[in-house]
Subunit: 249 residues, 6 copies
């Protein structure tokens, strides 16, 4: 991590361009084809990948597969207890927005023709939230996806790997006037601007979503945030590859 | 419009940086405090702004107001009929994602302290869809919002205008390898990348949402798209101001 | 219109037996096989007819087709904003009652054997309400239905027209003690009795629904209302035929 | 019953103007303020009237009361089992249409000012269906309503009776070309036209709902059906009064 | 009934080991293959058994049948009116718990291989509640089930009877420190412990559910309650057999 | 554990009266007042206890508190992925039955008068299922409840502890003809009888729920199962107390 980018203002004492400690634990639960606990600091998400040997109706007969995602938070993953969505009888707009983002992002990792008429469902369940649950979900979810692909190869469901590239994601924002990487909850809740960036391991963009919560941001700020995201995602891809036992070089 | 940016590939024969014909008709229906028909080419959206002299519970006693939005499409606004969301019993994830975006964007137009404990609800109902319904909704919705503010001033509900700035929005994308402005449906459905940009009249960003549908995009492409969006939104703000009878200079 | 039936009491200054200005605009939106904007004075409804080449399960194999209808109101089509039914998660009893009435009425226009195993869905969406939205929906919906039939003939989906007869509808009521035709909202909301009548172009009844809101009505009043409805529907059928370019003689 | 109006065509061998056997059993269950089993031949409905000492929000402070109704069918009240609405998670359009009709009809029996700020809820639950469940519900429901009023007087909740008049209802229709009274299921399912009529004990109309299921009906047929309904309702009011121990003269 | 087990404390003056008056009326309604009104004192439940010649998807091709149950209460079956579950849009947890219990219990009466690929649905609808509605439902539901089996044999749907044994159920509890049989509502609402027992006619257990509402119970109390239940269920099986015209000896 | 009770038939090689390895990890997540990971072998449940300083409406003004529970399973906590209840829009009957059981059981641990007008909500979320999720939830939930009580004492919300006694739960069943303790999934799915028992630390019963899945069980078998449960629960209470740092003697 760079030393000369000091940001004494961050509550966590991190540098402006410094990720939280990121841990990826594979085979976290025993039933799923891929099961990962991903931790971005105090944010902890269980990501499982489930293989189903069928596809949604709109793809029948196409020879192509599908990847989709669902997202949830345990009611007390947050500072004050949230209502359980299953009990309220519907998923919030926020939940749906996030799971659509995760699904779109992870589909970019896969060659759907090589996947064949199979579906992989990624479930991201937040057991402890401290900011950045959607970016942790994408980053951990891609590792679970890679494990599920491996399981499919072992079982002979597919012949060659449809995994094109790793996908990772991080948030960036303007906190107290300064661009910072990987916002935790105290930063996120008071940031002027919050941007979630999803990139490929080759450094190209899959998704950029930047929202000014208060005020508005300039093109220069946009650029600075994106440069921070590029650095963070590069580090996250290395961590993914180490977890998977693949050389990051 | 620039002449030297020819893009013969566009199905509509438009230049790469050319908006569709945009029309804003105020007072389109008679009951709402603000009622606008906005047309981006063949995309037609009725935007109404309704004033309610109360606020959501989380703001009670704060002295501050609220702006929120809902979005819907008539079942046959599209090429093939979609199920009616009221009959299915829930709004799709896409609908919720769009109405959350419209609400966030239009809140940036308003000083909530000056609005006082009042709510303005923006309803955006698509009667004909041809791409860009969310950007048309934001652009037309802001004019309806301005009219509702005027109605509140006339009725004496508020003393001074909480309207800080106009907000407009446009889509940009990479179509056949080239950045283009204001995608219509034929372009949108085959574009590699689709980005929705929301800006203030002063040229600052409120929201940037860019998604690679197929493949991924580079930082240079991101920049090029954003520059196109800046041009388009500047023109849209002029059209908003002409519609409102305010000089755009 | 008759001159000698003066009814100075009507807020609109209309004669007791006088319709509001009725306009029917065909091809109002571009995607639907039939698309009509129908206006009964300030009541404005978009009626679209969508052709689907399949039928509900209970008709499979019967060789017969189906016509059904859905109805909705834009949230601010009314004086004060109504909750959006899609957001509330269900259609009100009133909405269901109205769409069932529209569907039953329009099925009377069609020979289901000639329609073959096809479905026509009529969507009636009120963009501005001023009384009589269900009668306007039926009257405009039948024109959209006729256009959809024409589209089916052109596309070769059917060989001969299943359109047996035009269907139109109007409301009548007892307002300030006097029978009046085609109630607008100020009349409707204070009428003692409100009756919706649906008839064929040949002057026979498809549906009569008369409700005493306050008090009760006599057989003589019932007869007088029905006679008014016959006159109004005869005029509406002429307007339908003019809109369709068919001689009303 | 008239002898000279023979209708040999009726499956039940009834005369054209003959009601089915109608029985009204009061105090059928023990908890409700009014509890009636009403039988129109094989159609059997439990009607209860429940008193609640509060009112819907829109009436708060008005000094006026409210009467409302709910309707349901036991799943196997019909020839083939219907899905349970509670299990499906919503009431059908037909159910809502019927319960709205029952509520409107029974409100005509009551002076809401004398009822005070109290609500009476009428529940009509069909335990066996053989046609005419809604007309039986209104006829039996009015007796339950009268009993609930008596209970309120006894408990001192109200000082004087708000019951203005009895309300009863019957169906009429055109069966094999002939107007007939009080259709049972075999008639109802093959009738050309079905009309439900609600009247006061004084012979005035509260509601007339006539639907041509197949074909259309003339003004003469409408008149004939209404004349039959008048006769039937007059007899039903006598039966209501006998059940209540009130002289029908 | 035993005389020497006096329990003067019971509000109903019953002995500790005394059932309420139990009545089983077959052929209560006319449409269902089995239709029973069961009365445990003032608790009255209509139990119908409906035969459907198909099975749930998970059994397709197995050659085996299925028995399932649904439960409901009329809104005013209770002392104060409950909301109608169909109107609220969902069944309560209590309802689902009870109907799952009834289904499990009645499946124990049937040999699913002999039933073949047919389903029998038991609907238990409480028209008057006074405690023990679930035990009455099981006891009456088993008689309706037996009648439905007979109807299937008569119609030739099945060749030999799949009815293995009668199933009956009763509640027991600790009321004022003493074990008592078949709690009515006044006892149930103040009992320390409430246990529902389901047994076969041979005296073996299908289900035991005992809940301490207040305090906890000892093994001796558990045994005493179960002994009471054995006695009560033995008597209930006799009543079932008498109703079915089968010798209980 | 006893040695002389060998049960070679158990897939896990456990003795008939042997619990799985049970682990209780406190402070598992950071936000909740009580947060426990409970493991019964491969069954893993996160139990959190959340304190809310208010109560349900039916207790307002009573001076008494409330304890309630909710239960969920991560979609891939099981061998094949289950639909997410939040996405389906309702909780299954099984889920509701389980969470009602957990709530009832844990209320027996608490003196509601000493709790005051506060609510403790127990969330039990299964992250890996291998049989016995409800008994693990109760056993772990009681530890989370104890921690929440401690947090309330520390914060001064309550003055003295309302915790009356520990509550624990275990399943027992008849597996291959023999009574066994603490069934895992392979046993549970093929057991003849499954019984869940909830007891106090003093060895009294809170809840007994025994279901014969196939066949029926005798009184002797019932007794044998309950004796096994007593032994298992006694051991579970010791493990709870060790986890809480309280001497089990």
């Amino acid at each position: 991590m760079s030393q000369n980018n000091a940001s004494p203002a961050r509550p966590s004492q991190r540098q402006a361009d410094q990720l939280r400690d990121v841990k990826i634990t594979r085979n976290y639960t025993k039933h799923a084809e891929g099961s990962v606990l991903v931790e971005f600091g105090d944010t902890k998400v269980i990501c499982t990948a489930s293989v189903e040997e069928n596809i949604p109706r709109f793809l029948k007969g196409s020879g192509r597969g599908w990847v989709t995602a669902e997202y949830g938070m345990l009611p007390r993953s947050t500072g004050s207890r949230m209502d359980r969505e299953a009990a309220r009888g519907k998923q919030s707009g926020r939940t749906q927005e996030i799971q659509r983002l995760i699904g779109r992002s992870l589909r970019a990792a896969i060659d759907m023709n090589l996947l064949g008429e199979n579906t992989i469902k990624i479930d991201c369940d937040v057991i402890q939230a401290d900011g950045g649950t959607r970016t942790a979900s994408i980053t951990g979810g891609c590792v679970a996806l890679a494990d599920a692909i491996n399981a499919m190869l072992e079982r002979g469901i597919i012949k060659s790997s449809p995994l094109k590239q790793m996908i990772a994601s991080v948030s960036v924002g303007i906190y107290k006037g300064e661009p910072v990487l990987d916002l935790d909850y105290p930063e996120d809740s008071s940031a002027d601007t919050d941007m979630n960036v999803v990139m490929t391991e080759a450094g190209k963009f899959i998704e950029v979503q930047g929202t000014a919560e208060d005020g508005a941001y300039s093109f220069d700020e946009l650029q600075a945030m994106i440069r921070l995201a590029e650095k963070g995602i590069s580090e996250l891809v290395d961590i993914q590859k180490q977890a998977l036992g693949v050389s990051g070089d």
